[in-house]
């Protein structure tokens, strides 16, 4: 009966390519904006023999979401899972979860403020003061081809960041001869009765292409292990995207993208409020030219996106005071990049900029109806103007390569709303309406091939400006540590020193890698309790002001291995360890305990099978002051089976699986307020692709 429901991914086959294994072709194709083609892991060695092979790497990781070129089904156990679940599979990415929807990605144990999250290189900023709408929630796997994850300053191309960058690549058909593909997708999950239905159309000629896709998801409350229902964990969302490209002439392309994403009735079980509307309109227009004098791959893009986020507690019983908290974020931006290849050098130049307006307000309705409603601006219409230049040079030596990159950025902030500025001046009577900051970063990354070993070493320096909330937030309630947060426009920039190193060994059918990075972040921005201040939120424990710590340290280590046991049969495993401390050796919040994953996959052209186990050790280091408690160890087992059928020349993919097989009740270190994760869940995905 359930099978009736199923799916059809147009081939959403996410899998991870480890950075050190990127082939030269990959890099070239990628930088040229050409569609990504993933190579089997062992291909790298074969190419390694070539004389001018780049030894790339650069601690980048790609989660493939849709791979058009694949004919088989190498993939993801659950093709129609959420983008959040895809990202979870990246080694350096973790997810802070406030419910079943809109998880917030962290990279290298750092979250939104310290990352640059982009959609096709476009900056998009969430409109929720409580981080309930990370950018990743405004796209869907149905319109993405991959997530490109760059650790630390390797992500500086995408924007100012300290922890790294996540760039979500929109899926485009590209200019190909006479392609017309229709894909239908259908999915069902038992635990929260999630229904997924979607369709893709790809139409492509030499001269132009048009892609369209639509996906709709609706889920009820999920149940934790043991069957306990997690109330307010439902959601409903749909996403429509349209892409078009036109070949203006030889080597000249025009492309446009429109993404419309709307979520309604999204419950956040870990928070005191829900979201009745989260809507994004994301648009871009780009122009690409293969050559520009001696330069090549010149790409320029103009973009605009607007986000509306409406948070309220109208569905919640027994709240002390009813409130509405809408927020808006509009971003206008551009970038232009081009490359130059000369001798041993491969240079990349990029100029980018954006202008963002962030406004959020709160209206509370007193229990005593006779009293006036209470209004405040929680984001005082902050205008951010940011423009930067990025330059990178990859120098190839015989069996090694050096990458040097630098970014300089100017960022101006202005509080445009008089009411908001006056509010801020309650705390900072001398606060100026506007300020300018200069940001810079520089990174070097060295990579060397020693027979079957590859060594990587990198050093970087970067600065970042405070986020809108950190600089200008006004009584933003954090339900995790139960404090109200007030921004501080006088914050210093964070300055990060990054050190990374890795070693990997690749043998036919066998691969091991060990890597680690360490960040010392001076002026680390974190909330500090000011006991003289009175809480705004009823029941809060105190008020915290964002302040600069002298410094904080974050260390991430990971070990990965992959072993090809037999043709089609692969075992892979990963272990990671993370630690974050401040200058007084206190634990930073939201740092993962040691964690592990192990997969056994069997994958042939028509059959797919996977058994996996994942878990984490007991949380040893945690910070009660920031609302954390000790998260117990857990291990979760899952499995999936897939079969591809050929029906009159068209492919029908089917996948089914069980997550959390033993219905374990657990929560992870990053589950907001310890909300339990989903219990046993059966899923069915069907994708039918008509050529």
């Amino acid at each position: 009966m359930l099978l009736m429901k199923i799916i059809i991914p147009a081939g959403r086959f996410p899998y991870i390519l480890l950075g050190p294994l990127f082939s030269r072709k990959w890099l070239l194709w990628f930088s040229g904006g050409v569609l990504f083609i993933s190579f089997p892991v062992h291909a790298q060695r074969e190419e390694g023999g070539e004389r001018d092979t780049i030894l790339p790497v650069y601690l980048e990781e790609v989660v493939v979401i849709s791979d058009r070129t694949q004919s088989g089904d190498p993939g993801q156990a659950k093709p129609l899972s959420s983008l959040d679940e895809y990202l979870t599979s990246a080694r350096k990415v973790n997810m802070v979860k406030r419910g079943a929807y809109a998880w917030e990605p962290t990279l290298n144990s750092m979250s939104s403020e310290r990352l640059s999250v982009t959609i096709d290189g476009m900056r998009v900023f969430g409109a929720c003061t409580d981080k309930m709408d990370p950018i990743t929630s405004y796209v869907d796997v149905s319109n993405l081809s991959e997530a490109h994850i760059a650790s630390g300053q390797q992500g500086a191309e995408y924007g100012v960041s300290i922890g790294g960058a996540i760039d979500l690549k929109i899926d485009k058909a590209g200019f190909k001869e006479d392609i017309f593909i229709i894909s239908l997708e259908n999915g069902f999950e038992t635990n929260n009765e999630q229904k997924i239905i979607g369709a893709d159309i790809n139409f492509s000629k030499d001269q132009y292409y048009i892609d369209g896709d639509i996906v709709y998801r609706k889920a009820g409350n999920y149940s934790a292990g043991g069957g306990e229902e997690v109330h307010f964990s439902q959601y409903e969302k749909y996403n429509i995207s349209l892409n078009g490209g036109y070949q203006l002439g030889p080597g000249k392309k025009l492309a446009a993208t429109l993404v419309y994403d709307e979520a309604n009735d999204v419950g956040y079980p870990a928070l005191p409020m829900d979201v009745s509307l989260a809507r994004a309109v994301i648009t871009s227009l780009s122009y690409e030219q293969d050559t520009l004098g001696v330069l090549h791959h010149w790409e320029s893009k103009l973009y605009y996106n607007t986000i509306t986020h409406v948070m309220d507690d109208s569905q919640r019983p027994n709240v002390p005071v009813r409130m509405d908290m809408p927020g808006w974020s509009d971003t206008y931006g551009f970038y232009s990049r081009t490359a130059l290849k000369t001798g041993k050098h491969r240079l990349l130049f990029k100029w980018d900029g954006f202008y963002n307006k962030s406004l959020a307000e709160m209206t509370m309705y007193p229990a005593n109806r006779g009293e006036a409603s209470m209004f405040m601006l929680t984001w005082p219409d902050v205008r951010t103007l940011n423009t930067g230049l990025y330059l990178e040079d990859i120098i190839n030596f015989k069996e090694s390569s050096l990458k040097v990159s630098a970014r300089v950025t100017v960022q101006g902030n202005r509080v445009a709303d008089k009411f908001g500025l006056n509010s801020l001046r309650i705390f900072y009577p001398d606060a100026a309406a506007s300020q300018t900051r200069f940001l810079s970063s520089i990174a070097t990354q060295y990579s060397k091939q020693l027979r079957s070993f590859q060594l990587n070493f990198g050093l970087a320096y970067a600065t970042r400006a405070p986020s809108v909330s950190e600089g200008y937030g006004f009584y933003l309630f954090n339900s995790f540590d139960n404090h109200d947060y007030v921004g501080n426009p006088g914050l210093e920039n964070e300055r990060s020193m990054e050190l990374n190193a890795g070693i990997s060994m690749t043998q036919p059918g066998f691969k091991l890698s060990f890597e680690g990075n360490a960040f010392r972040i001076h002026n680390y921005i974190i909330g500090k309790t000011d006991s003289s201040l009175s809480t705004m939120t009823i029941g809060a424990d105190g008020v915290r002001i964002y302040t600069n710590l002298r410094y904080a340290d974050i260390v991430n280590l990971s070990f990965n291995s992959e072993y090809k046991i037999a043709p089609g049969l692969t075992w892979s495993g990963a272990i990671s360890w993370h630690r974050g401390t401040d200058n007084q050796n206190r634990d930073l919040p939201f740092i993962s305990p040691w964690a592990y994953q192990s997969f056994l996959k069997y994958d042939t052209r028509s059959f797919y099978g996977e058994v996996s186990a994942g878990g984490a050790g007991k949380q040893v280091n945690f910070n009660r002051g920031f609302g954390e408690d000790q998260t117990p160890a857990y291990t979760i087992f899952s499995m999936a089976l897939g079969k591809t059928f050929y029906i009159s020349g068209n492919r029908l993919y089917t996948k089914a699986g069980i997550e959390n097989i033993f219905d374990r009740y657990y929560s992870t270190y990053s589950d907001w307020n310890n909300i339990p994760r989903m219990g046993r869940n059966l899923f069915f995905n069907i994708s039918y692709k008509i050529n």
Partner: protein, 282 residues
């Protein structure tokens, strides 16, 4: 065609004239522009006009502008010297209220001062204002009835109390008139009741300020400043911050020049509000 042309010219002319006269009206310096005539009364062949920025007088602080008109000539007197005495006629006694002197404004037909009414009038009890004024060397007296209503929304803008020193005080909020979400200037007048008819400004006391929102679990605001005595103006000035709109209770504590508490309590878990307070809702 000619007619059309003429009509057009006439229209243009009318428009021009009307615009011009508008301009004249604006440029004419209306000494009571922006004020409302609250009441007027006749005596001695004069009309006494009382103006306020508000539509009427309320309990608490009221700025009052006065013009006196000669009924016969329909002209306002200049440079009148005015003294005033507000009187509350209660059923069993009479009393006055704190007041300023009356001084001429920049426009010498208008005089100005303030009155701080402790209470409203009602069916049996009412306020009247006795004016003793001198025009051109002649002294006149006039008395008029005043209607005093509750402050807007019934919020407490004035409080009359007996301090721990057995003195009766009157504390009235003068500003902010239009409170905003910001650090507002806070202005208040503090008076001692010498007898039923005489009130004197109290100097060099201190009033601590603690605004709270009772509807928000007594949320308070930072960077308020105590009210302290401003010698130049004879009133108290401090700072009052509001973090949001809504209903605020301004908890106060009055300390004398020796730092002794005359009235009011600190706000604590056990004491959610002071007995000395103002109310603001916006």
């Amino acid at each position: 065609m000619k007619i059309v042309k003429s009509l057009f010219l006439v229209a243009v002319f009318i428009c021009f004239v009307s615009c011009a006269s508008d301009n004249d009206e604006v440029s004419e310096n209306d000494p009571v522009a922006g004020l409302n005539l609250v009441t007027s009364f006749e005596a001695n062949g004069h009309t006494v006009e009382l103006y306020s920025e508000n539509s009427g007088f309320t309990t608490g602080y009221n700025e009052v502008s006065i013009r006196i008109k000669d009924i016969a000539s329909d002209r306002y007197f200049s440079d009148s010297e005015i003294a005033w005495t507000p009187v509350m006629h209660m059923t069993d006694r009479e009393h006055s209220c704190p007041k300023s002197g009356v001084t001429l404004t920049e426009n010498n037909t208008v005089s100005k001062g303030f009155l701080i009414f402790q209470m409203t009038g009602n069916a049996e009890e009412y306020w009247s204002l006795i004016l003793n004024y001198k025009i051109g060397g002649t002294t006149y007296e006039a008395e008029g009835y005043l209607e005093v209503n509750p402050s807007p929304g019934g919020k407490q803008k004035i409080t009359v109390f007996k301090g721990s020193d057995d003195t009766r005080y009157i504390l009235a909020m003068i500003g902010p008139v239009e409170p905003e979400v910001k650090i507002n200037g806070f202005v208040a007048g503090l008076y001692k009741m010498e007898d039923m008819m005489n009130f004197s400004a109290v100097e060099n006391y201190r009033i601590s300020v603690d605004p709270r929102m009772p509807g928000m679990d007594n949320h308070g605001s930072p960077n308020n400043e105590d009210l302290t005595y401003d010698v130049a103006s004879g009133i108290y000035r401090g700072k009052l911050s509001f973090t949001m709109t809504g209903y605020w209770k301004i908890n106060l504590r009055l300390l004398n020049d020796k730092g002794e508490v005359i009235k009011g309590e600190d706000v604590t878990e056990e004491t959610p509000a002071s007995s000395l307070y103002f109310e603001v809702e916006f």
